[in-house]
């Protein structure tokens, strides 16, 4: 079995296990059992509870699903935007192409982390947890497209001068029809960009959350749970605090594995 296929199967199993953990009766990521704060492992709480008495296993499962769904959606938006901008720059008028690439250069010159922090901190004070999650991943998607667009632009320029494209032009194919044929030719570029973006977005969300600027409570997120590592009193009570970090590393290795052979 190839590394990529193995990583994909592993991720699928993890997602199914997370969905099963969330479907257990009385499973709630926000329910606080104040009589069982920082509880150890038990049949009811397989990974113990946090300092508010919330089931850590359910929270990790929810964080895994939220992070994967959000990152995949953000990567899809990024890839679609990059395909649009890259193709437009390659096939549009020269001025449009130049402007699009200049815009890419401007975005690439802006450091991700600082921009993310800036946009995230400039959200209204009353933002709900669901909105904060959506905005976090949307901002990641909005800032992630330029590098991908540059790669797509180079690929599209190569396609523009390729034999089949010249032939298609000479035979009078409509530009819309050419786009239909162009996209499958760009797929070998777009798929790796999409796969590489997913772990990058998962890490970015985790870093933002660990700084207290990610998805708001009570919604669980990797970053939010990494934030628990700063609580040394909790670390003395239970080692299960490291469980989210260990799982995050495993998930990221699997995601890198899916992107490695692309």
């Amino acid at each position: 079995m190839s590394l990529r296929r193995g990583a994909l199967w592993f991720l699928l199993c993890l997602v199914l296990a997370a969905a099963a953990a969330l479907c257990r009766p009385n499973a709630s990521y926000s329910y606080q059992n104040r009589e069982a704060t920082l509880a150890g492992t038990s049949w009811r709480y397989p990974a113990g509870t946090d300092d508010l008495g919330r089931d850590r296993m359910v929270r990790v499962a929810a964080a895994l699903l939220l992070s994967l769904v959000g990152s995949v959606a953000a990567a899809a938006i990024t890839t679609a935007a990059a395909a649009g901008v890259g193709s437009l720059a390659a096939f549009g008028p020269a001025a449009v192409g130049w402007s699009a690439m200049l815009l890419c250069d401007v975005f690439l010159a802006l450091p991700w982390m600082f921009l993310l922090m800036m946009v995230r901190s400039a959200l209204p004070l009353t933002t709900s947890p669901a909105h904060s999650a959506a905005v976090t991943f949307l901002v990641l998607a909005a800032l992630g497209w330029p590098a991908c667009a540059r790669a797509v632009y180079r690929g599209a320029v190569a396609q523009r001068t390729s034999g089949w494209m010249l032939h298609a032009r000479a035979t009078g194919l409509h530009p819309a029809q050419m786009v239909r044929h162009l996209l499958p030719n760009l797929l070998p570029l777009l798929i790796p960009q999409f796969l590489v973006s997913i772990p990058a977005f998962v890490i970015a969300e985790a870093n933002l959350g660990a700084l207290g600027l990610g998805i708001s409570e009570p919604l669980p997120s990797w970053g939010g749970m990494l934030y628990e590592l700063n609580n040394s009193a909790m670390l003395l009570e239970t080692r299960w605090v490291f469980f989210p970090l260990a799982l995050l590393v495993v998930v990221l290795l699997a995601l890198e594995g899916t992107a490695a052979e692309a």
Binding site: L102, D105, V106, F107, L108, A109, L110, P111, W112, M113, F114, L115, M117, M118, V119, R120, S121, A122, L123, P124, L125, T127, P199, I203, A206, N207, A210, L211, G212, L213, W222, G223, L226, L229, N230, S232, L235, L245, L248, V249, L252, L253, E256
Partner: protein, 267 residues
Amino acid sequence: MILLVMVGTTLLVRFAPGYLSDAREMDARYAAVARAELSAEASHSITQMLRAELGGWMRGDSGVSREFNVPVWVLIRPRLAVSGRLLLRGIALAWALALCASLLSSAGRRPSLLWQAPAAILLAVPAAALATLCLLVNSGGPVLVMALLLAARDFKFLHRALRNAWLDPHVLQARAQGVRPRHLLRAHILPALLPQLGALASLSIVTALSALVPIEVIFNVPGLGELAWNAAINRDLPVLLAVTMIMAVGVTCASFGSHRTTAWREA
């Protein structure tokens, strides 16, 4: 380019949905002042704001901090040296680690798991988590954490580039003729890799700037990253804007340096 980056950053902040809200509004003592300042800012058009912001920067005036009520430059100046030192040391150590590891791993016949596995694991650990773990086990400081994060990324590229370089036909022939590897490296491989090394150096700076915030926050280093984080938590947008612009200028200069290296090499 730098001008465009400044315009882009200012516009992003201006159009952020919470631009006209301030953490001081939640405190009854400062709410009235904050609202007055915000309503004055709201009355400015985008053009006025851009003119004021860019004009201020040209004159060396980067605005006033909303949180501390002091000029932003006063907050930034002492922290520039702290962050600069951390970045320089981190990048230098990372390059030394990555170069040594990639030279050793690329010279072997097969890609060695001994080198690949630690790099892959380090790439899968968020900067904040690695910094927290180092702090918990009380070993390694901010420089080591930054160096490890950068070295893992740099190693990935350097290993691939060096491995391809060792397999170039002229290098293979030289090896077959008995030319010593050290001479090959110095005379053929490293000069040929110079443009890629330049590009990787600018990428290292971008990565280091992104890792700067979590590392400085977790190790409590009084640098620009910590200032930016504090500004983000307290919605002190003038400070955040100024720090972002400084970082953007740093990235632009690094990219320019990388382009110049490539141009010099091609000339």
